[in-house]
Symmetry: C2
Subunit: 158 residues, 2 copies
DNA sequence: TATAAGTCATTACCTTGCGTAACTATTCCC
DNA sequence: GGGAATAGTTACGCAAGGTAATGACTTATA
């Protein structure tokens, strides 16, 4: 790995994996706060709820448990989110075909409309910031996003 | 930009900047939840409080306002965090030399000890996950971390 | 140079997102 | 068929953060 000369001195400790862990956790925490703050005013759904709609839209029906795992929340939290989405008519609950304990969550047409509206305005704030980046930095993030996702979903626990 | 063949189909929409924005925001949200959950049991400080100590350690004294901006929280929140750190003797408040409104926060020896202890165990969970990654993925994250940080701090607002 | 306007930090109060513990309903396994 | 495991839910609590209002000080203006 080589580093360009214009890299800030203070970022050098990122060279070690441990240093990277420290920087990454804080960067993720900070960016998340910013994202919550800059979310589009037309959209009163929480980011978690939007994430659920996106998953149902993109990957099809999911059980409550699967959604909880993906979003890294506990089952009761996902129950609440799904209930809230259901009350707005954005998702429906269905019985699982061959396991009576599970609940299958399905996005409705109204839910898809919300996803498409969101796609249209597409995280206005973040999209604009990303557009301003040089394309090589955008490429780095493009490749980083799925890695972050896999880290979040890692089976390993402390 | 080229994509390897083993890339999941669903990640292809990340090709567009808008798609990247969507993926990135959710990945960041999810990884942050995971990081909060997997934080080291010996460390009862919040991740925000730890971030503040790291900044004071690495970049020297900071005003309350500067810390709030860096951590992407509102001033009252940072006041609370600093107060909590102060009660544990990890930071001290000092008068600003030439602006009586501002408060300079300085890390104490005890605070530095906490940072060093944290550095020693270094986000155990995340470090371990990062060690498991192939080194090219780790390199991507190494380069992504400062970009995420800059995004969080961007002057632009929606 | 007096005062108005702006800024930094704080206090008080409130919302929200999420967790744990306990319970119900179902399924799996011997 | 009965005990153990699993999926989801209900009830309750807490922590992290926000907004609005206030006080202390500084800067700009008239």
């Amino acid at each position: 790995m080589t580093y360009s000369n214009d890299m800030p001195i203070l970022d050098k400790h990122v060279r070690s994996t441990a240093g990277l862990a420290t920087e990454l956790r804080f960067s993720v925490m900070r960016l998340r706060r910013r994202l919550v703050r800059e979310r589009h005013p037309d959209n009163d759904l929480s980011l978690t709820a939007m994430a659920v709609l996106w998953v149902l839209h993109g990957r099809g029906d999911q059980t409550v448990g699967a959604l909880a795992t993906r979003e890294q929340v506990r089952p009761p939290t996902m129950t609440r989110t799904v209930t809230a989405l259901g009350e707005r008519g954005l998702v429906e609950r269905h019985d699982h075909p061959d396991d009576g304990r599970q609940v299958v969550v399905r996005i409705t047409d109204a839910g898809r409309a919300v996803v498409l509206a969101d796609a249209a305005r597409r995280d206005r704030w973040l999209s604009m910031r990303l557009e301003e980046l040089p394309s090589d930095e955008r490429d780095i993030l493009r490749r980083a996003a799925p890695i972050l996702q896999r880290l979040a979903e890692s089976e390993q626990t402390l």
